[in-house]
Amino acid sequence: MTNPKATIRRALHCILLLAAVFAFLGAGDPAARFGEIGHRMMCICSCKEILLECNHVGCPDSDGMRNELMAAVSRGDSDSLVEQSFVQKYGPTVLAAPTTTGFNRTAWIMPFAALILGFGLVVRVVRSWKNRPAPALADGLRPIRGAELAQFRDQARKETEL
C-alpha cells in the first residue's frame, strides 16, 4: 500500500523540478530578443506605456529608442548590456521592472518573503487549532470517536448531501 505522505512529497518534488526547469527557460532566439527586451522597457515620453506598446504618432522618443534597441540586438549585445546602456542614457525609470541589484532586490524578495512568512503562519495556526482542546461536554454526554463517529459522519453526509 502506498504511503499518502510519500506520494504527496514525490508530487511536490516533481512540481518543484518542473517549475525550476521552466523558470530558467528563456527565449534564446535573436529574432525574439527585440520584442522581449522591448517589453521590459518603458517609453520615456510620459505616456507610461511599455516601449513597444507606445502608440503615439510623432512620439518624440519611442522611435529613436526602438531603433537603438534594434541596433543593440543586431550587434549581439547581451540583455544586461542593452539594459545598462538604456539606464545610463534615460535613467532607471526606463526599465519596466526593478533590477535585481542593491535596494531594488527588495522589490522582488518581499512578495516571496511574505509568501513564506504567511505559509509559516498558516501552518502554525493550523497546528495550534489542531492542538486546541475540544470544548467540554455537558454532564452525561460522552465523546464519540472511531468507527461510531465515522458511521455518524457518513450518515450525516448522506442525509445532507444536497
Binding site: 499518502p4 517549475a19 521552466f22 523558470a23 527557460l25 528563456g26 527565449a27 525574439a32 517589453h39 521590459r40 518603458m42 505616456c47 507610461k48 506605456e49 511599455i50 513597444l52 506598446e53 507606445c54 502608440n55 504618432v57 510623432g58 535613467g91 532607471p92 525609470t93 526606463v94 526599465l95 519596466a96 521592472a97 526593478p98 533590477t99 542593491g102 535596494f103 531594488n104 522589490a107 522582488w108 518581499m110 512578495p111 516571496f112 511574505a114 509568501l115 504567511g118 505559509f119 503562519l121 498558516v122 495556526v125 493550523v126 487549532w129 489542531k130 492542538n131 486546541r132 482542546p133 475540544a134 470544548p135 459522519r153 453526509r157 448531501e161 444536497l162
Partner: protein, 682 residues
C-alpha cells in the same frame, strides 16, 4: 444654481454631523432612555441623502444648462457635448466625483437606515459609523473640493470640454459601478465595527455583512472589468490592463473582499476566523479609501493624471483616524472574537480556505508593494524606479495559478476532514481531463489557431498559459462534477431529468452553486487572459491599395475619409479584411480631434470573435512624409474575458437569491376505498 448646490451641501453636512453626534450620544446613553434621540439621528441620516441628491441634481442641471459660471462645469463640459456625457460630468472630475461618492454613500445609508427593523441596535451602531464616514466626505466637498466653486473673471462663452478619453459610452457606467463597489465596502465595515464595539452576540451580523459585501463585490467586479473594456476600446494600445496605480487601487479591495467572501463561510459554519474576518472587512474598506487617496493625491505617478489634486492630506488623516479607531476597539474587545472550534485535519475545507485567504492577501500585498515601491525607492535610494507589467506578471502569475489550483481542490474537500482516498477518488478524473487537455494543446498543429500547438518550453509565458488552461480545465471539471453528483441524487429521488435536477439543486442552495458559477466565470476570464501570451502586432504606413498581413488576415486599404460634427472632427481609414483569400469584413478605425479641448484621441476598430480579436488603430499621419499609419493587433481569446464577466455576475446574482425551500417529504396516504365521490366545487 451654484448657491442652491452649495446650500444643499452645507445642509447635508449639518444633517450628517447631527446624525453622527446624536447617534453617538444615543448609543452611549442607551440605558438612560435616549431612544428618541437615536431615532432623530436615524431620520437625519435619511434626510442627508435627500440633501446630497439635491446637490448632485443641481450639478447635473448646471451641466445641461451650460452654466459656465461654475468652474467645475467650465472645466469638464462644453455646449456641444452630447447629453449622456453631460450627465456623466457628475463623475468626470475631482470635485464632482467626490460629490458622487457622497451621494452613493448617502444612498447606501438611506437603504440601511430604512431596513433598521432587522436588528435596530446593530443598525444603530452601523448607522453611526456610516455617518462618521459620510461627514468626512461632506467636509471634503464643502471645504476642500467644492464642485460649486465659481469661475473667476468673466464667464466664457463655452467650456473646456470633457477629456476625450472619457467620451465613450462605457464612461457613463464604469465610474458609477466602480464607485458603488468602493463606497459599498463602507457598509460591511460599518456593521463589522458596530458589532465589534457592541460585542454583538452570535453570527447574525456576519450574515448581514456577507450579503452587503457580495452586492458590493459584484459592483466592483463589474466596475473593474468595464474599466478594462474601456481601456481596451479607447486607449488604443491593444491591451486591457496596464498595472497602473489607479487600476491597482481598484484591484486591492477586490482581492481582500474576495478573500472575505470565502473566509466568512468559516465563521458562519464553524465559528472560526472571527479575528481574521474582522480585519479583512476593515482592510477592504481601508484599501478602498487608500485607492482613492492614491488616485487623488498625486503622490504616485499615474496615467490617470486628470484626477490628481492636493486633497491627499485629508485622506491621509482619515486613513490614520479610521485605523486608530478600529485598532482601539479591536484591542478593547478582541476577547469577544475567540474561535469556537478546533481544526481536525489539514486536508479539510477549513484549511483550503486558510490557504485561499493567504494567497488572496499575498496578491493584494504584492499589488500594494508594487504600487508603493517607486515611492519607497525614492525615499531610500533617492531615485524612482518603474514597477510595471513585467514585475507583476513574474510575481503575481505563479500565485494566481496556485489560487486556481485551490479553486479546483476546495469544493472537493469536506468540512472538518477529508480522507486521502476520498480526495483521490474525486480528484482523479478531473486531473486526468486537465492533463489530457494540456497534452492536446501541445500536440495539435499551430495552424488550428493561436493557442494550439503550444510549446511551453519556448517561452515562460507559453508555460504559464498552458498551466492556466490546464488548471482552468481542472476547475471546470470539478465544478461540473459537483453539479452532476448533486443532480444525480435529486434525479434518483424525484425521477426528474438530469438538467431539471441540477436546476433544482441550484435553487436549493443558491449560494453554493452560485459560487460555483462564479468560479466557472473566473475560469473563462482566465482563459481569456491566457491568450495574451500569443498577442501579435504590426505597424505599417498604408496608402491606397497597400496590404498588411497579420496572422491569417490580410488587410487592404480601400480609402480614407473624414467627417465633421459640432463636438469633434474625425478621420477614418477604410480597410477590407481578407481571410483565406475571401473578403470577410470592412473595418473603419477612427481618429478624432475634439474642438473644445483641442485634443486628439483614437477609436480603434475591434473585430471580435471567439478565437481572436483583430484590433485596428488609425494612428494618424507620419509627420515626415504625410503617409497614414495603421497599427494592427491580433489578440487571441479576448472575448472570453468579457463573457466570463457576465458569467461571474450571473453567479453573483444567483448567490444572492434566497434558497428555495427543500420539498417536505410526506408519507403517501393510504387510499380510502370507500370514499365518497367529490363533486365539482368541493
Amino acid at each position: 444654481m451654484a448657491q442652491i448646490g452649495s446650500f444643499a451641501l452645507l445642509l447635508a453636512l449639518a444633517l450628517g454631523v447631527y446624525s453622527f453626534l446624536a447617534g453617538l450620544v444615543a448609543l452611549i446613553g442607551q440605558d438612560q432612555g435616549y431612544e428618541r434621540l437615536g431615532e432623530t439621528a436615524r431620520r437625519a441620516g435619511i434626510v442627508t441623502f435627500a440633501a446630497v441628491l439635491l446637490a448632485a441634481v443641481v450639478l447635473v442641471a448646471a451641466a445641461f444648462h451650460d452654466d459656465f459660471s461654475i468652474a467645475y462645469i467650465f472645466h469638464h463640459s462644453n455646449r456641444d457635448l452630447s447629453a449622456p456625457y453631460k450627465f456623466a460630468v457628475l463623475w468626470s472630475g475631482q470635485e464632482g466625483s467626490l460629490l458622487f461618492w457622497s451621494l452613493l454613500l448617502a444612498a447606501y445609508g438611506f437603504v440601511l437606515r430604512l431596513r433598521n427593523k432587522t436588528d435596530p441596535r446593530l443598525f444603530a451602531y452601523a448607522s453611526v459609523v456610516l455617518a462618521g464616514v459620510q461627514v468626512f466626505f461632506l467636509l471634503l466637498v464643502n471645504f476642500a473640493a467644492n464642485p460649486f466653486g465659481l469661475l473667476q473673471g468673466s464667464i466664457p462663452a463655452d467650456g473646456s470640454g470633457l477629456n476625450p478619453l472619457l467620451q465613450y459610452p462605457e464612461m457613463v457606467i464604469h465610474p458609477p459601478m466602480l464607485y458603488l463597489g468602493y463606497v459599498g465596502f463602507t457598509v460591511p465595515f460599518a456593521f463589522a465595527l458596530g458589532a465589534l464595539i457592541m460585542k454583538y452576540p452570535g453570527e447574525k451580523w456576519i450574515h448581514i455583512t456577507r450579503r452587503w459585501t457580495m452586492v458590493t463585490w459584484g459592483f466592483l467586479t463589474c466596475g473593474i472589468f468595464l474599466g478594462a473594456h474601456w481601456a481596451y476600446s479607447v486607449l488604443g494600445w491593444g491591451g486591457y490592463w496596464g498595472w497602473d496605480p489607479v487600476e491597482n487601487a481598484s484591484l486591492m479591495p477586490w482581492l481582500t473582499g474576495t478573500a472575505f467572501l470565502h473566509s466568512v463561510m468559516m465563521q458562519e459554519k464553524r465559528g472560526m476566523l472571527k479575528v481574521w474576518n474582522m480585519w479583512l472587512v476593515f482592510a477592504t474598506f481601508w484599501l478602498a479609501i487608500l485607492g482613492t487617496f492614491l488616485t487623488r493625491s498625486g503622490i504616485i505617478s499615474s496615467v490617470h493624471a486628470f484626477a490628481q489634486s492636493s486633497i491627499g492630506g485629508w485622506f491621509a488623516w482619515f486613513l490614520g483616524i479610521s485605523f486608530a479607531v478600529f485598532l482601539f476597539f479591536f484591542l478593547k474587545n478582541k476577547s469577544h472574537l475567540r474561535g469556537e472550534h478546533k481544526l481536525e485535519s489539514l486536508i479539510s475545507r477549513e484549511s483550503s480556505f486558510l490557504f485561499n485567504n493567504l494567497l488572496f492577501v499575498l496578491l493584494c500585498f504584492t499589488v500594494l508593494w508594487g504600487t508603493w515601491f517607486p515611492k519607497i525607492s525614492e525615499l531610500v535610494q533617492g531615485n524612482q524606479v518603474t514597477v510595471g507589467g513585467p514585475f507583476y506578471n513574474r510575481v503575481a502569475i505563479p500565485v494566481a495559478l496556485l489560487l486556481l489550483l485551490l479553486t479546483a481542490l476546495g469544493p472537493l474537500l469536506a468540512w472538518r476532514k477529508t480522507s486521502f482516498e476520498s480526495l483521490k477518488r474525486n480528484f482523479f478524473w478531473p486531473a486526468v481531463g486537465a492533463v489530457a487537455v494540456a497534452i492536446f494543446l501541445v500536440i495539435t498543429p499551430q495552424s488550428w489557431g493561436s493557442v494550439f500547438g503550444l510549446k511551453p518550453w519556448k517561452d515562460i509565458s507559453y508555460f504559464y498559459s498552458l498551466m492556466a488552461v490546464g488548471l482552468c480545465t481542472l476547475v471546470t471539471f470539478t465544478v461540473a462534477s459537483e453539479f452532476y453528483r448533486g443532480g444525480r441524487v435529486i434525479a434518483k429521488h424525484t425521477g426528474q431529468g438530469m438538467f431539471a435536477s441540477m436546476v433544482q439543486l441550484t435553487h436549493r442552495n443558491t449560494r453554493r452553486y452560485g459560487g460555483y458559477i462564479v468560479h466557472f466565470g473566473v475560469v473563462v476570464v482566465i482563459i481569456g487572459f491566457a491568450g495574451a501570451a500569443f498577442n501579435q502586432d504590426k505597424e505599417q504606413e498604408m496608402g491606397y491599395g497597400d496590404k498588411m498581413t497579420i496572422g491569417s488576415y490580410t488587410l487592404i486599404c480601400r480609402s480614407y475619409t473624414d467627417e465633421e460634427n459640432p463636438n469633434y472632427s474625425s478621420q477614418w481609414a477604410i480597410l477590407d479584411v481578407y481571410k483565406g483569400g475571401k473578403q470577410i469584413d470592412t473595418l473603419t478605425p477612427e481618429r478624432r480631434f475634439y474642438h473644445a479641448s483641442q485634443q486628439t484621441s483614437t477609436m480603434p476598430y475591434i473585430r471580435s470573435t471567439l478565437n481572436e480579436d483583430l484590433y485596428l488603430v488609425y494612428e494618424g499621419l507620419n509627420q515626415d512624409n504625410g503617409h497614414p499609419i495603421l497599427k494592427a493587433h491580433l489578440n487571441p481569446l479576448v472575448m472570453w474575458i468579457w463573457m466570463g464577466v457576465w458569467i461571474i455576475l450571473a453567479g453573483t446574482i444567483l448567490a444572492l437569491v434566497p434558497n428555495a425551500p427543500a420539498p417536505v417529504r410526506v408519507a403517501a396516504p393510504k387510499l380510502v376505498e370507500t370514499a365518497a365521490p367529490v363533486g365539482a366545487g368541493d
